[in-house]
Symmetry: D2
Subunit: 335 residues, 4 copies
């Protein structure tokens, strides 16, 4: 669910970059600048850049601002182009990362949750992934003779959002989990990024659980291994940048450039240094009035992009959750 | 969920008619023909005909083929016309019947379930009613100051169907009920009728519970007061006639007319009498091959009709579930 | 546009079958029974049966009830299954038949018209084909450097139906043709079949022009070579059977079977013979009342089937209209 | 069609404000600042502010940057709230302005064109207005006895956009106009505004014609009285702000505020003055890279807002184009 107003970024690689550029990191003057308690590993190739971030201690947690656990990020700048080869490569890399993270048994039951609001285009990613997913649990129960070998029992629900159901999404998910008792829970969600470059080109996989609709009320119900008793994998794709974030970042760029040219120590230099924190936000809010906090920036073609990226994410899951299935078999299972 | 193949009709008034026309009823040669254990009451007017059927004993249950309980049927032949006055009258009558059946307290929490498949036009009635419903539970929790007096906490979910989720719908509903613990559960569903005249002109309200996707497998999970511990109200609107039913009924009409003209006692008279049960179905299946059991008959304008009837049913609910709310206020709560 | 009430069938192969079974054909006692002025050719294989019908004279025209010209029918019983191999084979055969019929030049401009009502599921085939079509005319004009070699200028419009626009569809098409001046006009339309077996398994291609919305009023505007001055190809797929047709055919089956068993010459035999024409239709209408002429029979999964068949037809066109393009390239041109 | 990148604003009242704030206007130091050749008239009330701008000479045309003619703007800050009373007031004011501008005869035929791309949410306003419009021309021709007195012949088409059809939209419109020969042409389009405050709260009506997809290629075909021979009314509602415009305006606000505080004549003051034109845009583009020119800013609820505003605009038209029709009658004509 897109709800970026009160958090800096949903993406761990952006949170890590913010740390790297922060005064704290600069003061430590480290070689590689990655904070203690954080392990970084780079993989992939020029088309699909893979970053594995492992936050291993409370120190790392504090530095990055994200809970301890594994975060895998796929960056695919050409994912927007709908190029068949790039899509298939992304699906391939994504499924391999998932397979290694999930460690499924042959008969593991998987419940996939598509978070977000299907009536709000950039928030509909989760439900759209669900509609491209191979749902097989009922087939294995009722017509096992029509199911290919290697297919695992997968079930899937798009629970809606608080504004549609009137119920905390976490409550709905918990209720269904209690009945289905899956071995693994996977949640798909649209995210907000800080940079437009990441919108619809980045896929983040994490094993740290989810807090659907975080921030809407004070009762948020976290869904994680500690609350539901099974591994919880979150898969997110940024689909928007918050307009206030975008504008704020653009202004920072301009001010940074002016600071560089101002003679250090002068009154003006100091004014610029202070300006950042004092006046900028109020000015900004004035220009975005009366929509502050609800305005989003998206590519004009967002409807189309969401449809296409949803298929890639669904197929990454389809290839990871079943054995011996190829992309050509998927259509036989989708209705 | 539309799944008419293995039941005669979803509508109690049709089941009652079938009994009236059956040999059993004729042999009893009763005055009013309504079987023992069944109480009939007619209300309404020429625009909205209301029939209250009460099945009070196992005898009545066996005669009609429906479980004991209250069944209210609104027949509105002009509901297809989208006439504002007829729609408002239907909403008014429907809400009054519901109010009297529900006996809500001021602070009763109501969970409304929209059954059916949103990807199949005539089966999408339930989910479409949900999207026109005043969902208020979260507003009363988080922004009570913005909610009109008399508004009750209503929440709503469209759980999908087995083919979409891979999970028995009854399991999903049970899971959510366990978390939300509503005082009343209301389930909306598209039905199959026996006669085209009833399609999209009839609303049936019953307090006997539901068995979502009845007949798909052998694990059907009934949702009723005895299984969930709270009153369960089912609201259904017929949106299709099964093609096999329609054709069969048409053939019966022709055969009945021939029987009338054949001299009683002749070989041919007997052949006609026997034909009904022997050959008709196999011939029928031949003509419908290869689609038997999946073919439906609908008005061509079904997409449009479903949209309009869904709004009427939703507003009947909106008027029944909240106090002091008028149709003009509804839009302020729908998003 | 689906409007079957006043014509026997849209399909030439069904019209030919009706002739074969008619008394006229039986009286002529011909060997192959195909009437004079009609040439039949069978091709294809067990998956895709191809029938080329050529009506060459007014005699043939009168026998079949369709105008002189070429009719190609692809029958693909497994087209409903969404099997990748069957789909690709159908696309391949369809494109080859079209290439041979169209005789395009390297720079021929093609205008494709998607007839039908996008708000009525089974009538939306034409508009859905358009949305899966490689539209290239503007690219060749503005960014020719980004267009693959062999791509021809294709443009496409879904003009809507009289009930949506208030304008005769033929008038809109004629207006656009006058401005675009294409070398070939191709019109896609949903058809009504007589037999459920043909629904969504049959593709008919004809070079005899179209009369959109035929029968709605008395002003129908034919679009054919003689009225617009360029070849007009019509591609149709049956998506429904008219409910009256289906029921009538089912009753005929039952009556035929009874006639076989009745002793010839008896009163009853004669009654059955007469019944067919006298009473059947009025009884039939009674059972379908009050919807006669608007009721359609479709598979329950029609929304899904229309989506899938539209893609096959669109790709048959994409492969036929451009040279050196493969199915993998198509996505780069669809938005 | 939303295509804001190469024009300052689609709204005349914003263009007028830009002139008022420009150096030219300030140098002239006029009392009311409205340039010669421009006549301004304010009407309406606190809910619906109406501004009539009349550009009467080439001088006015040059000052405002819009062609000579009449421009009526309705500003309704609460139009986003979906308040029934506000909506009805807007419909009432809008229809009265249209009636006075259109000067229709009793039997005038009106063709309404819904411009824009139905697949791109904020660009779908035009097509959505069409689907809420009373289309009556065919009813008056075929079933005049079912049409209320005072209803004029209205027909309507959504011609799509160049990227969907491959044809210049102006060509399609011209082709249809040539066949239908309406007395008045009305075109509906989504616009880009400069300020978020105007998005989905402002309706602009102009009698100066349209240039659909202006700027896409070099062949734009203007549709105006001089090219089609009948009055052409354009109705537009801003649905987005271009992201580059928004960010640029936000930065200007910050810089203006710094200029105010910098001592005039100092180097820094001069640097700020120059910065505006030199570096800002390139920095800005860097931050928006790689999406410059395609990024839009919208309220997150844009899907919902477009649906609601489309209904208001359509009903403003319905009330203006027909006599003696009330809002309650409209539903009888919409399908």
């Amino acid at each position: 669910m897109i709800n970026s107003s009160n958090r800096i970024t949903d993406l761990v690689i952006e949170a890590h970059e913010i740390f790297i550029n922060s005064s704290e990191a600069k003061e430590q003057a480290q070689e590689n600048k990655t904070p203690p308690g954080v392990i970084l590993e780079n993989l992939g190739d020029e088309d699909v850049k893979i970053t594995r971030v492992r936050i291993t201690s409370p120190t790392g947690e504090a530095a990055i601002g994200k809970p301890m656990g594994n975060y895998i990020t796929l960056e695919v700048p050409r994912l927007r182009e709908d190029d068949t080869q790039i899509n298939e490569k992304t699906i391939d890399y994504m499924s391999k990362e998932l397979i290694s993270l999930l460690q499924l048994k042959d008969n593991s039951t998987i419940l996939v949750i598509g978070l977000g609001n299907w009536n709000v285009t950039p928030d509909a990613l989760g439900p759209k992934v669900i509609s491209n997913l191979m749902v097989t649990k009922h087939l294995l129960e009722y017509v096992p003779e029509h199911v290919d070998k290697g297919v695992r029992p997968v079930c899937a629900v798009s629970p809606g959002v608080l504004g549609i159901t009137g119920i905390e999404t976490g409550e709905i998910v918990k209720g269904i989990v209690d009945r289905v008792k899956p071995d693994v829970l996977i949640a798909i969600d649209a995210l907000a990024a800080r940079s437009m470059e990441r919108v619809s080109t980045t896929i983040q996989i994490a094993d740290t659980g989810i807090a659907p609709g975080g921030g809407v009320g004070n009762k948020r119900m976290e869904i994680s291994k500690s609350t539901v008793g099974m591994p919880v994998i979150a898969i997110g794709v940024p689909t928007v940048v918050d307009a206030a974030t975008l504008t704020n970042d653009a202004i920072d760029l301009v001010i940074d450039s002016m600071i560089k040219e101002a003679p250090e120590g002068t009154d003006f230099y100091n004014m610029l240094k202070n300006l950042d924190r004092d006046q900028k936000y109020s000015l900004l809010k004035e220009s975005l009035n009366p929509f502050v906090g609800h305005l989003i920036v998206t590519p004009k073609e967002i409807d189309d992009i969401i449809n296409r990226v949803s298929k890639v994410v669904a197929n990454g899951l389809n290839m990871a959750l079943h054995q011996g299935i190829s992309l050509k078999d998927v259509d036989n299972y989708i209705n």
